[in-house]
């Protein structure tokens, strides 16, 4: 579904990603771990098409299509979703209005009519229940005055509404207490299917106890230095990253 080949990307002439190779198939869950500054969030941004980063080499393919010339909004229409590490505030725009706009823009791009209000309401009701979101929350301005946990839950709510093919969750676990983590994780698990894929970006093993990955990759210095099954995450938890850093330095 998502195929990344020898991806190099830089920001302000500083190279951050130095040759990433990754293939994610439908139905799979991949975890990307690594120390601070290893390029995890950059990878997420580049997949989503953030033009602050310049792709200098390599390619990203989604279902066989090269994404190089595809704008961020078109990538979203094609099913790429990024749950942001730091979701921005948009004052005066309610969560509902924002989602309505997002869904209808995607439909427009596919040549469909706006979603009828009745269907929209039904969808909102369904998905907010899935994530145990209070309906009052949906009339609040997007992310304005939200707690860290509320912001993350709102991101997953949006994911549920948009039903992406590839969802990248950038440190969705940070800032969540254990109850919120459980709700978010169970939401993601329910949304998971054989037709979509999830990429989890995280520092900690904790999230992976709830969302079990098929593959774990360790990112260091802009490269994947080790890949393995879910047991790799446990090993990292135990030994930290230093042994890998030494290994790659050799």
């Amino acid at each position: 579904m998502l195929k990344i080949k020898d991806l190099h990307a830089s920001v302000d002439d500083k190279e951050i990603l130095r040759g990433i190779n990754l293939e994610v198939k439908a139905g799979e869950v991949h975890a990307i771990m690594g120390p601070n500054g290893s390029g995890k969030s950059t990878l997420a941004s580049v997949i989503a098409g953030n033009e602050r980063f310049e792709v200098t080499q390599g390619s990203i393919e989604l279902s066989g299509e090269d994404l190089e010339e595809v704008s961020p909004e078109e990538r979203a229409h094609k099913g790429v979703f990024l749950s942001f590490q730091y979701p921005v505030e948009i004052p005066g725009v309610s969560v509902t209005n924002f989602m309505k706009t997002a869904i209808n823009e995607s439909r427009k791009a596919k040549g469909l009519e706006d979603m009828p209000a009745k269907d929209m309401l039904k969808l909102i009701r369904e998905k907010s229940e899935l994530l145990e979101i209070d309906r009052k929350f949906l009339s609040r301005s997007l992310n304005e005055g939200f707690s860290g946990g509320e912001k993350k839950r709102n991101e997953i709510f949006q994911m549920a509404m948009l039903e992406p093919k590839v969802a990248i969750l950038d440190e969705t676990d940070s800032g969540l207490d254990i109850d919120a983590l459980r709700i978010v994780a169970s939401g993601v698990n329910k949304l998971k299917s054989k037709d979509n894929a999830v990429i989890l970006i995280t520092h900690y093993q904790r999230l992976l106890e709830y969302i079990v990955p098929d593959f774990v990759h360790v990112l260091h210095n802009g490269k994947i230095v080790k890949s393995g099954g879910k047991e790799l995450a446990l090993e990292l938890e135990e030994k930290g990253y230093d042994w890998l850093k030494q290994e790659t330095a050799v």
Partner: protein
């Protein structure tokens, strides 16, 4: 592809003014220049009574002795008042005509403006008076309104048909000597709307006036006089457009609102005069004096969406004369390219327990300058007066400016005055967030701007709010740096 700053700028430059067409209608225009003969000629042309001619002349003499104000935070080449023609009327305008007789070219122009002067308006329950260049062309729904005793007609007709009302109230809120532009307007105004709502009557429909400058080298000086008698209610809408031209066009209007005991007036404006092109050439100079007087328990709300004009100088104000009277000011001012706006309000608290609310939203893009200027004055006798002011600015790019000049004069110790101000900028991260959810940059800006302006947009009548939203989008398309 997402936009770089350069691409955005380029796109912004190519965005053209949507209402920039010129309708070729034969018109009857006075020679340029201003002197007593011209003032008398205007008055004669309008077949005015002698008292009106004298009132104009008085204003003209005051104006001659006045200097153009320079305190506003705007910079422009002063108009040469002797190079303007002070009267331009579409030749086919005849006040006795019915709608069926209106020049088809004029009707076509209304169509382009999105105004339908016919049954459509009936469905929307809006009565319209349209002022093109200087003359009022058609007033719809006169009959329906007359049944309630409501008078809604061009002020030129009101001077003849209801002289007692006009004589009593004209200049009572904005006297001739009030300021330079008000004096000029008093001397040369050619038309405008007049409205009277009788005691205890709730006006059943929105009243609306459309102003348009069509003829080159003319000024438009309309005068609006609105009287809401005791315990009456009216909602009034005002819309403005002008064709795009290289030279600056002058617009100096005066609006006077009189809210008698217990009356309520809602006055909404969507101003979309030509703002000048991307190099700052042309555009309308908009120097307007708007003021309301509120008697006991009366309430006046000014709501304005200002997207046009090269230079805007405008401070819709309320004199809260009666006890328990309420003044409100809700404003969205958008400036782009080289536009300059100096706008705000004055709330003068004279009566006891008077209340005022000011919500001002300034949006600046391009190389524009956007200033809020407000005065809250609490008189020594105004016990228990309260004011709340909120001024928010939204910036796009790095070359525009937002300024806030709040003046507060409180002479009564019981006054409660609150002032809040914020400045924010549309960030690339906000745009990217929207992009990532499938919303393109244009739509994202519209969404963010609408969110920012929501408190004010909510105050507009429904159909106007939709129009205002569209205008905001048009004025700001592609303007994020």
């Amino acid at each position: 592809m997402a936009y770089t700053e350069e691409e955005l700028k380029k796109e912004l430059e190519t965005k053209e003014y949507e209402y920039g067409f010129y309708t070729d209608i034969e018109s009857d225009t006075f020679p340029v220049g201003l002197n007593e003969e011209i003032v008398i000629a205007i008055s004669k042309k309008k077949e005015e009574p002698e008292w009106m001619t004298q009132w104009r002349l008085e204003a003209f003499r005051i104006w001659e002795s006045m200097e153009e104000p320079t305190w506003a935070n705007v910079h422009y080449e002063k108009p040469d008042f002797q190079k303007i023609s002070y009267y331009s009327a579409p030749k086919s305008a005849d006040p006795n005509k019915t709608l069926d007789d209106v020049d088809p070219d004029l009707l076509e122009m209304y169509r382009k403006l999105g105004i339908s002067v016919d049954e459509q308006k009936k469905l929307q329950n809006v009565a319209v008076d349209i002022v093109v260049d200087s003359v009022s062309v058609a007033t719809t729904f006169k009959k329906t309104l007359a049944e309630k005793g409501i008078i809604f007609m061009p002020i030129s007709e009101a001077i003849k048909e209801h002289p007692e009302l006009v004589k009593k109230y004209i200049g009572s809120v904005v006297p001739q000597k009030d300021n330079f532009y008000a004096a000029l307007n008093s001397a040369v105004f050619t038309d405008g709307s007049f409205c009277y709502i009788p005691k205890g009557v709730r006006c059943p429909m929105e009243l609306s006036t459309y102003f348009r400058i069509n003829q080159a080298g003319t000024g438009q000086f309309e005068r609006t006089l609105l009287i809401a008698d005791e315990d009456s209610y009216v909602s009034y809408l005002e819309g403005c457009t002008a064709p795009s031209r290289d030279e600056n066009q002058l617009h100096a209007a005066v609006v006077e609102l009189i809210a008698l005991d217990g009356a309520e007036i809602k006055y909404s404006t969507v101003q979309n005069w030509f703002p000048g092109n991307s190099e700052g050439k042309g555009g309308v100079f908009n120097f307007v004096t708007k003021r309301a007087i509120c008697e006991k328990n009366a309430k006046v709300s000014w709501t304005q969406v200002e997207t046009g004009s090269a230079v805007t100088w405008k401070y819709p104000s309320c004199i809260l004369k009666g006890d328990n009277s309420i003044g409100e000011f809700y404003s969205i001012a958008v400036t782009n390219n080289y536009q300059q706006a100096d706008t705000g309000t004055k709330m003068i608290h004279l009566g006891k327990n008077t209340k005022s609310t000011i919500i001002s939203k300034g949006i600046s893009a391009g190389k524009s300058q956007n200033s809020y200027r407000g005065l809250v004055q609490i008189n020594s006798r105004a016990d228990g007066a309260r004011n709340f002011s909120q001024c928010d600015s939204l910036l796009m790019g790095n070359e525009c400016g937002a300024h806030t000049f709040p003046y507060i004069e409180a002479k009564n110790k019981t006054a409660m005055i609150e002032h809040e101000a914020t400045t924010s900028k549309i960030g690339e991260d906000q745009i990217f967030y929207c992009n990532q959810r499938g919303i393109d940059t244009e739509k994202a800006i519209a969404l963010i701007v609408n969110g920012f302006s929501k408190e004010v947009l909510n105050k507009l009548p429904m159909e106007f709010a939709v129009e205002a939203q569209k205008l905001l989008e048009i004025s700001l398309e592609g303007s994020v740096g």
